[in-house]
């Protein structure tokens, strides 16, 4: 019997890393509950038997495959609700992706369950699951219990590590279902459009990241100059990528990249959770922001309350001079 169901996102024949982390966590939790973990995948022909079976090595005993529209929440809700109506599943777990929030919340409404989100840890207590999530800009942690079942758990991005358990293969089962009427009223016109140049930032030791506080697209020049002086790359927040100031490929956080450089220098970034989840593993975090209440100062190692337009050029010059001095 399966006890925990996991929604696994994929794109172009590859599973999403946060989803795989959720499968691993579900395997551990299901063992604690004396049950099994199973996965639900929704999509087209790239969901081959082999690909689906491979989820077994992450801890899924069974994979329910629905050939349907991918990248949309409501068809996935239909699929998961269908599986839940047939086989009993006590909890449904989602990695920290955007679709997970939509599917998880909609599913809870559909099946009459409770939902928790931004969950960073799940506990097995008295044969049930208890979700742990940071609240109030991470200044406190709440433990949330479910009243009855099923319970829906939406994790925070990168909450669960991906651990491959070896060569286990999952049983793959195709699920037939009729989409609900409202699920057929959205249509993917274009998926995964990459906007702006492709920039590789994952391997940089130093990243200078810019946010809305830069004021405009030209403000990124200040970041580029400092990054050059430090021998690093330039990254960006979602707000400025959405505004078209910088390429999507350099975006850190919820729907962007996760990085952990030796130095992360955040300029004009407030430090919302959606950004934090993508960079909190950095070894040293330096933040420059004019707002002393900016959340980023709660998790930076060095915080400068001041005007980045004054500080960044002088910092760049000082580092360039210093290096010139040392080399001379």
């Amino acid at each position: 019997m399966s006890s925990i169901l996991v929604y696994v996102l994929h794109h172009d024949g590859e599973f999403n890393k946060s989803s795989l982390g959720a499968v691993c966590e579900a395997g551990r939790l299901a063992a604690g509950l004396g049950g099994q973990a199973a996965a639900v995948v929704v999509g087209g022909d790239d969901l081959s038997d082999d690909l689906c079976r491979s989820l077994g090595s992450y801890g899924a005993a069974r994979v329910y495959r629905f050939r349907g529209p991918e990248g949309l929440a409501q068809p996935a809700i239909d699929a998961i609700a269908t599986v839940m109506a047939r086989d009993s599943h006590r909890y449904v777990l989602f990695g920290g992706g955007l679709l997970g929030f939509e599917i998880g919340a909609g599913l809870a409404a559909r099946v009459g369950g409770g939902v928790t989100m931004e969950v960073t840890q799940v506990l097995v207590r008295d044969d049930r699951l208890v979700a742990v999530r940071p609240i109030l800009q991470d200044s406190a942690v709440a433990e949330i219990d479910y009243v009855g079942e099923p319970g829906v758990i939406i994790a925070r991005l990168n909450a669960f590590a991906v651990t491959s358990g070896g060569d286990g293969a999952a049983v793959v089962e195709d699920v037939e279902l009729e989409l609900s009427a409202w699920s057929t009223r959205t249509r993917m016109v274009r998926r995964g459009e990459r906007r702006g140049a492709e920039i590789k930032i994952e391997d940089a030791d130093v990243l200078v990241a810019g946010g809305r506080g830069l004021g405009n697209a030209a403000g990124f020049d200040l970041c580029s100059q400092l990054a050059k002086a430090l021998g690093g790359g330039v990254a960006a927040t979602r707000a400025v990528v959405d505004a078209g100031w910088y390429p999507y490929s350099a975006q850190i956080g919820q729907t962007g990249k996760t990085v952990a450089p030796k130095l992360y220098l955040a300029a004009g970034i407030s430090g919302a959770i959606q950004h934090k989840v993508g960079m909190q593993g950095s070894e040293h975090i330096v933040a420059i922001n004019k707002d002393p209440n900016a959340p980023i100062f709660e998790f930076s190692d060095l915080g400068i309350v001041g005007d980045l337009n004054k500080i960044l050029p002088k910092l760049t010059a000082a580092i360039e001079d210093g290096r010139g001095g040392r080399e001379g």
Binding site: Q74, L98, F101, V141, I144, V286, L302, I311
Partner: protein, 260 residues
Amino acid sequence: MLVKDVPDAAAQKRIDPQTHRLDRSGETNLNPFDTHAIEAAMQMREGGALDVDEIVAITMGPESAVRTLQKAVSLGADRSIHLTDAGLVGSDVCATGYALAQVLKQERPGLVLLGQQSDDGECYTVGAVVAEHLQMPSLTQVIKITPVDGRLHCERQAEYGYDTVEVELPAVISVGDAINEPRYPSLKAIMGAKRKQLDTRSIADAAIDPGRVGAAGSRTVVVAVKPPLAKEPGEIIEDDDSDATVARIVAWLEQRKLIP
């Protein structure tokens, strides 16, 4: 349009130790993300690509939420509805979404807009709950809406880049702050907001099942609130002399061998 009264961004937020709920007694304001939803509605009306009869702001919350509704009206809503009832206190996101959906059923909207998140708790989720109860298509975190032949082409950033999704109306759409730059209300609009129609509805008025809302009707319960794993607070420099500040930053970086 769904709007939310949230604790002011600058206010110190605290959790009531007895109820484990956010203390909402302090200074509150209209959720900043919701101002973008209002602006999006205004631009659709002004652009003429969609026929907009009226823009109605709806909120659920205590007495203080009236001011937030007035702000929503000053930003462009034609009238507002305040869902308020002692039986709603303590509702979790599913209960809140159900209650709001019951009010929406009475209004039969062609489009429900809301901000994608609020900084006082749940994000991205209430729109999906509302849509499910209304059996409408739903999309969150939208940063561009283009009406095309009575449907909406919505753009948003997802895990693999930007998605464009066509949504048939009626629908529930939550928007991000990149969608527009909200206008400032005119003094006249602020003064006039108090005179616009504001309906107050109770659980009974909105045909809400009292067993499905409030703390007792919620399917989640906060059992403990604890301090987070302690992280050493970082060093803070208040910049009043940028040369001295830069010297301190350089020294800090050099000490940690972060300058190549």
